[in-house]
């Protein structure tokens, strides 16, 4: 059986292979959460973090836009109280609040015929309906990653948009190269989601991550063929 990693562990794994992740702290008390918030800068987001929490938003385990110590302390206490034993909670994640009108999605998947793939798409709540997606086989080169960004049909979304600067494509390329490197180094990685990648000040920032391991029994191992 495959299993998922906690958000903190997912981010740590991906960051180790060069996926840019916003700075964050894993804390275990309201006091530590306040200290962490002062460290990363207000406003912050606080999220319950555990090995078996895949759908935080649906359960109200994400508290956005906390502007001061009182708000952070209260939210952290609430989140810790909401934890269920099966969540295997490891703490509360405190991270700077990242906002932007544009969202992308990036990740890794395992195709039954082609093995591991890297994916980039237009994100947000309409992602599946819009289905503006580009896929490549692991591993990818920098040129492949640049072409993935170029493949998206919604190019207008990547230019200057509602007062925000144009997307720094290099920031997305770094995410894609980091994902590919992670897949190469971790043979039993089944999937990874960076959902959403928020475009903030023109740069794509991963604000959530979910990694699934245990792929050996799915037959998803590729042959190490380099497509370039």
């Amino acid at each position: 059986m495959s299993h998922t990693l906690s958000e903190a562990a997912s981010k740590a794994l991906l960051a180790g292979f060069g996926v840019p992740i916003a700075p964050e702290r894993l804390v275990d008390s309201p006091e530590a959460a306040v200290a962490a918030s002062e460290d990363v800068g207000y406003p912050v987001v606080a999220k319950l973090c555990g090995d078996n929490i895949a759908h935080k938003t649906e359960r109200g385990l994400v508290r956005l836009n906390l502007g001061d110590a009182v708000a952070v302390g209260a939210a952290t206490a609430d989140l810790l109280a909401a934890a269920r034993p099966e969540d295997a909670v490891t703490g509360v994640l405190v991270a700077p609040m990242v906002s932007g009108d544009r969202e992308l999605i990036a990740g890794l998947a395992t195709d039954p015929q082609f093995g591991r793939t890297v994916l980039l798409g237009v994100g947000g709540v309409l992602a599946e309906a819009v289905a503006d997606v580009s896929v490549r086989l692991v591993p990818i080169t920098r040129v492949d990653a640049e072409e993935m960004v170029e493949d998206l049909s919604s190019q207008a979304l990547l230019g200057e948009f509602r007062g925000e600067p144009a997307l720094d494509r290099g920031s997305v390329v770094d995410v894609l190269l980091g994902l590919s490197a992670t897949a190469e180094a971790v043979p039993d990685l089944v999937s990874a989601d960076l959902n959403p990648l928020i475009v903030h000040d023109g740069r794509a920032v991963a604000v959530d991550a979910l990694v699934e391991l245990g792929g050996a029994e799915l037959g998803g191992a590729e042959l190490g063929v380099s497509p370039s």
Binding site: A106, P112, Q113, F114, L137, A192, E212, P227
Partner: protein, 493 residues
Amino acid sequence: MSPTTEQFLALFEPRGVVIAGASTHPGKFGFVSLHNVLASGYGGKVFATNLEGSPVLGIPTLRSLDELPEGEADLIFVCTPKAANPDLLRAAAAKGIRAAFLTSAGYGEAGEEGRRDEDELIALCADLGILLVGPNGQGVVSTPSHLCAQIVAPYPPAGRIGVASQSGNFVSSFMNWSCATGVGISRAVSAGNAAATSVTDILRFYAQDDATSVGLAYMEGIIDGREVAAALTDVAATMPVVVMKGGATTGGARAAASHTGSLATDDRTFDGMCRQAGVTRAATVDEAFEAAATFATQPLPRGNRVVVMTTAGGWGVVTADAITRHPDLELAPLPDDLRDAVDTKLPPRWSRNNPVDLAGGETRDTIPEVMEMIASHPGVDAVVYLGLGIQSNQARMLREGGFHPDHGLDRIVAYHERQDARFAEAAHDISLATGKPILTATELAVAFPDNPGPATVRATGRLCYPSADRAVTALGHLWRRSRYRQRRDLPIG
């Protein structure tokens, strides 16, 4: 175990061919395939086996392969029922045959027992050192050898496109397009069940085949995606490869927790693999053939700046729209010095922009002169030429209308036909001189293929596109390959 070059040469350039199971009944595959070999000008020796030893199509047959002289045939084309094949192949190998094309059905496509027989067939051929193509295949064509060993028509004109298909129907389709357009084929194989020789094995041979410069493949039901990706990457590094893929692969178990997993569908994954490998993916059979035909007959553009040259307004406007809509091509702004140069050749009513609309202002030499100005300009990477053959179409009506050759019609008809032939030749010559693609499009290529305009395009070896949209689509495929190679510091040829 991959087939060897020597085995493929036995398939495509055999010293002699045996039709096993030749029939006296003209409705049977064993008759038709012998007929097609004899009718298409194959220069090697042709043998045929028939249980009764009855002559077929006037040639004597062998009762068994025991009567075959040793070392005179390299290819056996098998039309016998499945049960006869193991002994037949053993006898063939003993006579020096190194390639077998099996049309026989009842193997892997026919259930469990058939799959077992197919496995035995694969093992037997591997043991005998015989290249096994098929079974359940339609045939093999090799124009350098004038070989048409097929159970169906057609035999296409000779050319540079190598066809490999998992479906025999699409081999026929591509070859019918070849017959229709005149852009020829080097080799073509229907892989049938692809028991031992896959579409990618065949493409790998084409990549090192001097007779082939473009691969054209139909694939479906991909099992080992990584092997396919590796093969297509290797082949596309050597020559353009156009792939049409049918059907969705079965989904299989997907990672349930993953959002990306649901977005990375089979089709998007195949598409991404093609982009990564530098493979041209086409959605339809005509798009696939025309992309391959364009690779085979036009130079790759160095950039994406396209100029439309037209003798009539509406076509130019719509073609400009198609180029503008294309995600990768650019409707080049007409450079000032080019506009000034064209000004010297035309009355002031011409468009003075891109599309270059001559607006009926041309005289005898205007079209070749303006085309040369456009194509040689450093700010232009490719040209789409519209309006060829209009006058010759009227000339046809004048010729057939009951008044010809009186009333001066003989002279005007001859003039128009000569002019359109000149213009088609100019497009070819200027493309050669500038090293830039010049694509000529007119529906007259289909409506009246004998029109001297499109007929001369065909005579120069190029494709006359039946619409400007299709020319733009084909040009887009050329540019994508050029860009792929430039970005990876590969020579664009």
